[in-house]
């Protein structure tokens, strides 16, 4: 029908795109394309400096554009929460701009880690196509090759992460999900050391990620069948009128929820997290643990607050169960870990559970608490993984905890900063972690979820145990004779650690500016 209408019309009206509202994302995607061109045409030894300048410059530029957008009064005119752009597919509102700005800063710090190049510390394989342990691999190592494709891939992933929480309809959200996931699958397999482990991680992440994408897509199909539209607001309207079969709606919520909770890494969809975090190159782990988590929670918040906002009573029980299991499983299994990266992975699972309590609150306080928590946790986790890249023995990063014994005696500064991050994860006062937990738990109590908060506090207490054990190991045990050493980082890693530590301390002592910014961002929830 629509085809014949189009044929008889003399011209088809061009859709209106608000380019300026999309400018941060367009800048990142444009820079990613330019990065591919650098890869194609620039001489080999110029590629890395050009990529670093382009990647860091575009992320900083996109951050500035986001801030300019947030300051623009016309978007929020007449008390609106925001506007819908690009024929209704992208929502530009305060929470989204807050999330995007967070992602851009965290991506900037992660790229600093990725850009670390001193021969001792670079984390990426010289030739991904060479069989691990083969002559080709050795040849590449000796020739000093490196995969500079890492930079455009990172930019594509970050572009997807910016679009994911902004997507106002489910199809755009699915495309953003794929754009952010596909480069990450590749990046996971590029570790320089322990390459088989890295390739295994990439394979597992890819297979499980493909499953979760398929489930997400199935959920979209159900919701389209229910509402006759993939637009989030249309689904909300259809749910409110309650005319169609609610079986489709509940199936859709469940399937979509599984897809989103997988990306967040909530139990029972957490199986990929420890393996992938352990096997990936550590800078990529830092990128995933911070930016991907923020982006996935942004999308989760938007879907559950906008599309299913009227159905809070229907999805809450399931989300309660997921949050409880996530907090408990994450913290209990963390106790048994002997690998630093796996410990941080289980810690990340437990933290996802704490943020879920903010999601369950389903009010402005829950949203603002989640926003603050995500920013605070993102900085601390990048800093922690940056420290992991510095503690090395002859085989590369000394990921096994036994190597960390007595680190505080040999390198008190590095061990002290790592202890700071662990204390922040545990939520001890005067660190950003405490304020984050306080914000989400207070919102959960306001939302009537007191039991959930009690379980959250118990889980935090359990989770403090493995952290304290690492601190005791670093400061109160004798260093091993042939133990790992802390390498001298170049300015990149040093800056990343410094930013992470500074943010953790500042957000711990004077959280008020960011807290009020987050609550301002969340005050009117998402645009519909």
């Amino acid at each position: 029908m629509s085809v014949t209408v189009a044929a008889t019309a003399s011209t088809i009206a061009a859709p209106h795109f608000e380019w300026s509202l999309l400018s941060p994302m367009l800048l990142v995607f444009g820079a990613a394309l330019a990065g591919v061109l650098i890869e194609a045409f620039a001489p080999r030894d110029l590629r890395r400096p050009m990529h670093v300048a382009l990647t860091l410059g575009s992320l900083a530029g996109a951050f500035v554009l986001t801030v300019v957008l947030a300051a623009k009064s016309s978007i929020f005119a007449a008390g609106k929460p925001g506007v819908v752009a690009a024929i209704g597919t992208v929502g530009v509102d305060r929470p989204t701009l807050f999330i995007q700005a967070t992602i851009l800063i965290l991506a900037f710090v992660s790229v600093l880690l990725i850009a670390e190049s001193s021969h001792e510390v670079s984390s990426f394989t010289p030739q991904a196509a060479a069989v691990p342990g083969s002559a080709e691999e050795r040849e590449g190592l000796l020739a000093g090759l490196s995969h500079t494709e890492v930079y455009p891939l990172t930019l594509f992933a970050v572009g997807g992460m910016l679009l994911f929480p902004a997507a106002n309809d489910l199809l755009t959200m699915f495309i953003a999900l794929e754009v952010l996931s596909l480069p990450l699958y590749l990046l996971c397999g590029l570790a320089r050391r322990r390459r088989l482990l890295s390739q295994e991680a990439a394979m597992k992440y890819f297979l499980l990620g493909a499953f979760s994408s398929a489930i997400f897509l199935f959920g979209i199909a159900m919701l389209y069948g229910y509402a006759g539209s993939v637009r989030l607001s249309a689904i909300a309207t259809a749910a409110q009128s309650g005319l169609a079969s609610s079986t489709l709606l509940y199936a859709g919520i469940a399937l979509l929820g599984v897809g989103l909770l997988f990306k967040v890494g909530a139990v029972p969809f957490q199986a990929w997290k420890p393996d992938v975090y352990q096997g990936s190159p550590t800078p990529i782990t830092a990128l995933m643990a911070s930016c991907t988590l923020v982006s996935a929670f942004g999308a989760l918040l938007r879907v559950f607050y906008v599309a299913f906002g009227q159905l809070t009573w229907d999805w809450r029980p399931a989300m309660w169960a997921v949050a409880i299991v996530t907090m408990m499983v994450g913290s209990i299994i963390a106790i048994t870990q002997t690998d630093v990266k796996r410990l941080l992975a289980y810690s990340s699972i437990a933290q996802a559970g704490y943020i879920l309590t903010g999601v369950i609150a389903a009010n402005a306080a829950g949203l603002s608490g989640s926003l603050f928590y995500l920013a605070a946790y993102g900085f601390a986790t990048i800093g922690a993984f940056a420290i992991v890249t510095l503690v090395r023995d002859r085989a590369g990063e000394a990921a096994h905890m036994s190597g960390w014994a007595g680190l505080g005696k040999r390198s008190p500064l590095v061990a002290g900063v790592f202890a700071l991050f662990l204390i922040a994860f545990a939520g001890i006062p005067l660190t950003s972690g405490f304020n984050g937990k306080f914000a989400v738990f207070r919102a959960a109590i306001q939302g009537g979820a007191l039991p959930l908060v009690i379980i959250g506090v118990i889980s935090s207490a359990i989770l403090a145990f493995p952290y304290v054990r690492v601190i005791v190991l670093m400061f109160f045990s004798e260093p091993a004779a042939e133990g790992p050493v802390v390498v001298r980082p170049s300015a990149y890693t040093g800056l990343a650690v410094a930013i992470g530590a500074a943010a953790t301390v500042v957000l711990g002592i004077i959280p008020e500016p960011l807290l009020s910014l987050a609550s301002h961002a969340a005050s009117q929830l998402f645009v519909r």
């Binding site: 189009a6 011209t11 088809i12 061009a14 061109l37 194609a40």
Partner: protein
């Protein structure tokens, strides 16, 4: 509901036919086993033993990937070409942007030797 009855009938018929064929074949057919019949079927060629750790060239897969990229491009180009005059300047700009984006990927493959066979 009656709309679905023919589909249901067809499904039952198809299932019954499959079961009947297999059962009838296994009862009435002669059974003369030999070595070739017990091997995995590989389009009539003798199956090759797969040795672990040996690499075999996958050059064709690069060509196949490139083909998919241009195949998708054509899918978008056809409807645009049909309605070229009605879509106007906006359609032209969008299509040029799209082709330029694909061209970037193509330039990368070309410069990195993805089109060289040996």
């Amino acid at each position: 509901m009656s709309l679905y009855v023919p589909i249901l009938a067809l499904a039952i018929l198809a299932g019954a036919f499959a079961v009947f064929s297999l059962v009838a074949g296994s009862i009435s057919g002669p059974k003369r086993w030999n070595r070739a019949k017990l091997e995995a079927y590989e389009c009539g060629i003798e199956p090759t033993k797969q040795t672990v750790g040996i690499r075999f060239p996958v050059k064709y897969y690069l060509t196949a990937m490139l083909f998919i990229v241009f195949d998708i491009e054509i899918i978008f180009l056809y409807p645009w070409a049909v309605y070229f005059d009605k879509l106007g300047v906006f359609g032209l700009v969008e299509m040029v942007t799209f082709i330029a984006t694909v061209l970037v990927a193509y330039a990368y493959v070309w410069r990195r030797g993805g089109l060289e066979w040996d």
